[in-house]
Amino acid sequence: MATVALGLAGAAAAAWLGAAGLVLAGGRRPAVSLQAGLIGLGGLAALGAGLVGVVAGSSESLALGNQLVGPVAYRVTALGATFLTLLGLVALTAAVWGARAHARSLASSAYLAALALTALFTLATLCAATVTAFLVAWESMTLAATFVVWRHHDRREAAWGGFLFVALGEAGFVCLTAALLLLATQAHSLDFQVIAARSATIGSGWRGAAFVLALIGFGFKAGLVPLHLSIPEADPAPPADGSAVLSAVTAQMGVYGIALVGFRLLSHGPAWWGLLTMSLGATSAVLGVLYALMERDWKRFLAYSTIENVGIAVTALGAAMTFLSLGQPGLGALLLIAGLYHVLNHGTAKALLFLTAGTVERATGLRDLDRLGGLARRMPRTAVIALIGTLALAALPPLNGFVGEWLIFQGLFQGFRLSSHLAAVLIVAAGAVLALAGGLAINAFARAYGIPFLGMARSGAAGRASERGQPVLAGAILAGVCCALALGAPLVLIGLAAVVRRTVGIVILPRLLVPGLTLIPAHPGFSSLSPTYLALALVGLLGVPLLILRLARPRAATRTVPVWAGGILRFRPRMQYTATTLANPVGVTFEDLYRPHRDLERASDDPAGRSGPVHYGFRLLPVYQRFLYQPLVAAVERAARGLGWIQSGDVNWYLLLVFLTILVAYVAAGR
Amino acid sequence: MAAWFLRGIRRRVVTTRYPRGHDPWTADLPAPPAFDPGALTVPLANAVASVCPSRALWLDAGDLVLDLGRCTACGRCLEVAGTGSRSSSCIELSTPGPRGTLVRIPIGGSPG
């Protein structure tokens, strides 16, 4: 059993390597299909490896190192296997989507190769058991993902997104390398297991420095505000399968990293680690969803939603660290489970929504929410699939997102059990912030589902959309997984409890899950929930009105009349609510945060209302740009301008500078 | 109170008077005219009908017909009819159906 997981992971790696190698076939027809097929097969193998790893725990390790590069070893761990499952699932569905979506060309082939390499190096990161293996895999993953972002490198936003992705990825990698090498030198070993075993002997200052560095490094990948700049630029740039992998897997590798360093390597540390992590997470959650609300581009909206959901997961992990360090292991383990569960939920639903958005983009050529509309009638299967994903991501019952966030809230609201007042207040405040984010998320997702799928088509392309020949199956698989994660929540929690037991050594399952599929997260007298029964009951309740309608049919004859539109002659699509108007109340409420630039131009100011064409412009400068990045850039530019007089262009001036330098060196040497 | 409540529930009748008390000023509102059938003669009725700006008065089979629906309570007919008429002070005139607004006033006066 122990070698099965490693064998399956190896098979996945081989399949992905093969898919990448097929780029040499030059984009001929069977090669591209074969690439997609191999990526899917690899995904299946990785899924298997992950499931076996979750159930069976750590596998044996595969050691490859030599004298020159140091120990390099790979091992399927329980924590890594959780993410491996997600990677496999997303890779599988991305391949199913991509097999139908991509044209047979060299560019597609190269893109699929980059995607396969991204998956491969993600797998390597998840299985890495030494510092060297981890760093090499992490960096390779960043580079391969950059080429995924650059699929449409001739588009401005893709070029800029790829640049941000690789630039911020490297910034994060520097911090990460520093953190891991700090740990390695202090523990005198490059092996994760040895570092974990010796972590208690490392001085607390070194441990804290390493943790903060790792948090920053992984925060760049996870998209923690204010380190998240690359996420909304890079994640929407590639085709939908690439976006799905980037958002659902690559971004969440940051969460894996935080869990790896925070729980496995350093075993949770003092309370301020957890509180810092939690604050970052909560800030990301609320800012992510606030900026998502203002976004008109569908895929950029989804990318901002990634920031929000990663923030929620990181909040849960941070609170778990706090609880563990303040002597509440049960609650800590609960929150760790909830955070991992949320990662799975978010990954599944986000991949689903990205693939759906990609399908719609293929069918209409549009990503602008304000130009879509009425797709539910023209793309009914896509609409149902997207509805499931939307409900899951908006954390509405009965789907998996609700169960995950409910668990997180149950954990956070137990903050009062802590003896430290500061920690208690901060944890409950984080809960309140997450509640705000959750409410806004419902608003945001109602908008992101209602505007494109309901109402009338807002443009000709949206009106001509058709589902025929579009890749729908991948989304359907993910929708099924979403439902399974909700209905089978107790089963998932059994698996995650095993992961947590193997990672932090706390047994929580018997208390958490009572027979009869009911969860009692925190305290028997506090709350309980059975996701399975809830889902069944809600679906059943949904049937009650239908039943009533069926049994008590109205006696009056049915009349068909036009939609009520205010009694006007013709109801036009532009009279509908748009994504911008739907978000405007929130925009007004949070105006102090958004500080938007609104431009309203009329052709004339005729009081009778014959204003002619009206142009309405809306621009948003995010708060982190205004208060962090812009001052930073301005300072660098100011310094450059301040030194500009040196570069006058006069050769004699340059010679004088060289000469003076030599003189100074002479004099300094003569002292 | 309880009886009142139950009665209202059961009979669905007005449980609260719609202006709570009597509004004395409603008597001063413009209202359709009332005629004295004894004082009406055919020429007078013709004169009355001819001054009506809203075609609410006409003669039909020896009766003066007043259409309350059309009447705007302008009072011109009252000026013409003089002492044989006054304001009806009746403003609650709703009826189901359009034809319920017709009032036939027999012309009872002699032509002399």
Partner: protein, 167 residues
Amino acid sequence: MTEAELAARLRDEVGRTFGRSLHIRTIDTGSCAACESEIRMLLAPHYDLTRLGFFFTPTPRHADLLMVTGPGAVGMDHALRLTYQAMPDPKVVVAVGACPLGGVLGPDILTHGSIQELIPVDVVIPGCPPSPIALLHGLLVATGRLAARVNPARFMTAPPPAPGKTA
């Protein structure tokens, strides 16, 4: 079944359907706005429409009763028809004021002069404009909570002479 019995049954039916809660949509087919002014007064505390269970609603899809004012301007034909169609059955149409009953403007190229041939009118509220009390009365009549009481005797200052007694 006589017409009176049918009317009584119908009134009973209307009362059962709308007796406790009624949502009202108003539509203006070219009135001078005096009627609208009076209708708005219904929400003032003195009349307080909502205590009777009556509410104004912004959409005909939620409305049980349509109050029509104005003489039926041609330009509002489409809107009036759509509004009437959009209201779910059963529904009541109340003509408010003298205009919709043909009292103010005659038929010409701009107005129909009356709305009675456009949509079926169930209850009329005469008056130019009808005072809020008259409107309340009309609404209560429309819902069957009050009987109509147009008493011809009130429009005669003396009792009518007995038939056949005249010369």
